[in-house]
């Protein structure tokens, strides 16, 4: 009996794979040090299913070099437990997989079928299973349903997908070498020449993405609105008051608008022409990841990273297909009818799914985008075995309805345009109505198009001007990015991958380069991009990043080699690092100044000392380490004013003031707790019980 070892990407996936492949045999769950693996004893073979926890190996500097060596050009793959704090548990996973692998003669990478899954599986097979990657096979699947997993196990590929593995490994290597060298350079420049330490980061994709945000901020900051005028009118036709649109939508001169108002005020006319047009609107394409992320942001305000994480949970529960896909195609092999039958078993989709099942031919409307590895995101038709969390329910609902909408008929809308001439000026009355809802009914409530109805009109009908006025308007600045539109911009420029873009956006938030849902670049972002732009433009150059991206895609298609791409990337970077190092003093001084200002802003209150009017700031007691609000006039004016602060959690000074006493509010955030907003002066807060001063803080206030 042959023993086969399957490597899965996550414990949940391993459980599902094990349960699906246990075909009339015996399934045993083994557990050591809290890490489980599965043993399936089928009549014909024995299968061991081990799980990873994402990447167990990562890129790092080669043996022999230390943290002091810089720049770093030599790299190697190491187990993650050697690389960072709190990674010790990874050692146990690797040891367990290594131990289990000794029992196996056949090896299979059963991680998700994409670049990351291929790299996770290949590195584990190579380093933990004694170079088993050379003889391993690949299991390809898009859903974790029993049927598909069984088919994938029966139809294993002969060897690993090395082109995908090499492309993925190359991406990790290039990103690491860019990230570590450039980030280190910025951080150390600020530390050495700016006299302040703060972790600064940039990278191959991070830099150009941040540049988009900074450039948009610059445009907004320097935007001068230009005036223009529109004409707002109400006309009376058949006793109905309707808004009419002036033929020239925008007027650049006030005098021109005033003239129209003057000439048409109280005027009358007749309907001269009636135009009616029917338009057929095709169903939207099924979801690829980016479109799902955009739609989830539009309807639920969910950040792209949150949508991806939720999608992955649904995938692990076998409720939807693999979400990291760029495809908008639904091949017949996914079995539309079965999926729709599954959906018809869920009450909320019953009627609509049944109506689609009644169609003589099922042919989904598809988009242009393709992905050789996976189809578009679709529901598997499985009924959720547990009650879904609200966010999971939302994403599932969106995907299920979008899938059904793809089979819908064209929606038909009729627009009517009536032309009216009053005092020689042309106005339009516009109406629009839906003649056939088609797919819109299947995609409700996410397809919302409102009708504007007009009364029945005929040529020659009398029209009376009831109200006419010119409206002062100003051009608008370009809109700020939000997490979803920033992701869209990255996609348009082909930088990053569908799997990494959302994470990069989150990193930019974490590093303090941008804030808010409507993204605002911080002074630190301006400073970093300013320095990179001034001293080495190419590291934030979108074209260079895209070029590297394309080279990595060439590896994926077998048209380029990993080593060559890496050498080319290093060549680019070597000159950039040299240029930046030569200017590290200027860069460090500029960055140091901004970091210092930022830090100062974060701890200085807007409210002044009520005793001496000096600045108040958050300070720490050197002996006890406890924080409190102290007065800057302590040394000059001998002012002893102080106020207590909550001691636990991350403290933020809000730009809001206490409604009772007018003092600036503070907010503390602790893991697992709701944020607490409180006033240090009168102790009122949104969570009064916990915002009251503790005995310790009151004491501190007295002693300080």
């Amino acid at each position: 009996m042959t023993t086969t070892l399957l490597i899965c990407e996550k414990p949940d996936a391993a459980r599902r794979v094990a349960e699906s492949l246990c075909d009339g045999g015996k399934l045993v769950k083994h557990e050591k040090r809290g890490i489980s693996y599965y043993e399936i004893i089928n009549p014909q073979d024995r299968i061991l299913v081990c799980a990873a926890i994402g990447h167990l190996y990562s890129v790092d500097r080669k043996e022999g070099s230390t943290r002091k060596d810089f720049p770093i050009w030599d790299l190697t793959w190491k187990p993650r437990y050697l690389l960072g704090k709190n990674q010790e548990h990874v050692r146990f996973w690797i040891e367990q997989i290594g131990q289990v692998s000794r029992e196996a003669e056949r090896f299979v990478n059963a991680c998700d079928y994409d670049i990351e899954g291929s790299v996770i599986g290949a590195t584990i097979l190579k380093y933990a299973c004694n170079h088993a990657d050379r003889k391993a096979k690949r299991m390809k699947f898009s859903t974790l349903t029993k049927k598909e997993l069984q088919e994938a196990y029966t139809n294993l590929t002969d060897r690993l997908d090395f082109s995908l593995v090499n492309s993925g490994m190359c991406r990790h290597e290039v990103d690491w070498i860019y990230g570590v060298n450039l980030s280190r350079l910025l951080t150390e420049s600020a530390h050495e020449h700016g006299g302040i330490y703060s972790t600064l980061s940039t990278g191959r994709v991070q830099g150009p993405t941040l540049r988009f945000v900074v450039e948009r901020e610059r445009e907004i900051s320097c935007f001068v609105p230009l005036p223009y005028w529109t004409i707002d009118t109400t006309v009376e036709v058949h006793d109905a008051h309707l808004p009419a649109q002036y033929a020239k939508e925008k007027m650049d001169r006030r005098s021109e608008a005033d003239k129209v108002v003057q000439e048409c005020s109280g005027g009358a006319g007749a309907i001269g022409e009636l135009e009616s047009q029917e338009s057929k609107i095709p169903p939207p394409a099924p979801f690829d990841l980016s479109t799902l992320q955009r739609e989830a942001y539009r309807h639920f305000g969910m950040r792209p990273s949150h949508t991806l994480a939720t999608g992955e949970r649904l995938y692990l529960e076998a409720l939807i297909s693999y979400p990291r896909t760029s495809s908008q195609k639904l091949p017949p092999s996914i079995e539309y009818r079965k999926i729709l039958q599954g959906l018809s078993e869920q009450q909320e989709y019953r009627d609509k799914a049944r109506s689609i099942l009644g169609f003589t031919k099922l042919r989904p409307h598809e988009g242009k985008k393709e992905d050789p590895a996976h189809p578009a995101i679709y529901p598997t038709g499985n009924v959720p075995s547990r009650s879904l969390e609200p966010v999971e329910r939302k994403i599932y609902d969106l995907i299920a309805r979008r899938f059904m909408a793809a089979f819908g008929d064209l929606a038909v809308r009729q627009s009517v345009k009536a032309t009216v001439s009053i005092s020689g000026h042309i106005f339009y009355l516009r109406g629009i109505r839906t003649l056939a809802e088609g797919w819109m009914d299947l995609y409700a409530p996410y397809a919302r198009i409102e009708d504007v109805l007009l009364p029945k009109l005929n040529v020659g009908d009398a029209v009376k001007m009831v109200d006419i006025r010119s409206m002062d308007r100003f051009t608008q600045p370009p809109p700020r990015f939000n997490p979803s539109s920033l992701l869209g911009r990255m996609e348009d420029h082909n930088i990053g991958t569908k799997a990494t873009r959302a994470e990069i956006v989150e990193t930019l938030y974490k590093r303090g380069y941008m804030t808010g849902e409507r993204i605002k670049a911080t002074p630190l972002a301006f400073s970093v991009i300013g320095a990179l732009r001034q001293y080495c433009r190419k590291v934030i150059d979108v074209d260079l990043t895209r070029e590297l991206e394309e080279m990595m895609q060439e590896i994926e298609h077998g048209r380029n080699r990993r080593e060559l791409v890496l050498v080319q990337a290093i060549d680019h970077l070597r000159s950039a690092v040299a240029e930046l190092r030569a200017k590290s003093r200027q860069i460090g001084e500029e960055l140091g100044e901004i970091i210092r200002q930022n830090t100062q802003e974060q701890v200085t209150l807007i409210s002044q000392c009520p005793k001496c009017s000096s600045k108040l700031s958050v300070v720490r007691n050197k002996k006890t380490g406890k924080r409190f609000i102290g007065c800057a006039g302590r040394w000059e004016k001998n002012c002893t004013f102080s106020l207590p602060l909550p001691q636990l959690g991350k403290l933020t000074l809000l730009k809001r003031f206490c409604p009772k006493c007018g003092f600036q509010l503070v907010q503390t955030k602790s893991r697992g707790h709701r944020p607490m907003t409180s006033c240090s002066k009168c102790f009122s807060g949104e969570r009064p019980s916990s915002s009251k001063p503790t005995a310790q803080s009151s004491k501190m206030s007295e002693s300080d």
Binding site: E219, S221, Y228, D252
Partner: protein
């Protein structure tokens, strides 16, 4: 950035002047410094010019 803002203000003033047939510089700057659509740097430059 203030240089770019100033240059944008200069070119916009010509368009404002045409749009309103004529508008004194002071009124233009005052309106700009109160318009929510105007950028921060533009407002700073406008206020600085008004003080000057």
């Amino acid at each position: 950035m203030h240089t770019i803002a100033k240059s944008n203000l200069d070119s916009a003033y010509l368009k404002w002047r045409t749009a309103f047939d004529s508008i004194p510089t002071k009124e233009f700057l005052e309106r700009i410094s109160n318009l929510p659509e105007a950028g921060d740097k533009v407002k700073e430059v406008a206020r600085y010019l008004l003080k000057k």
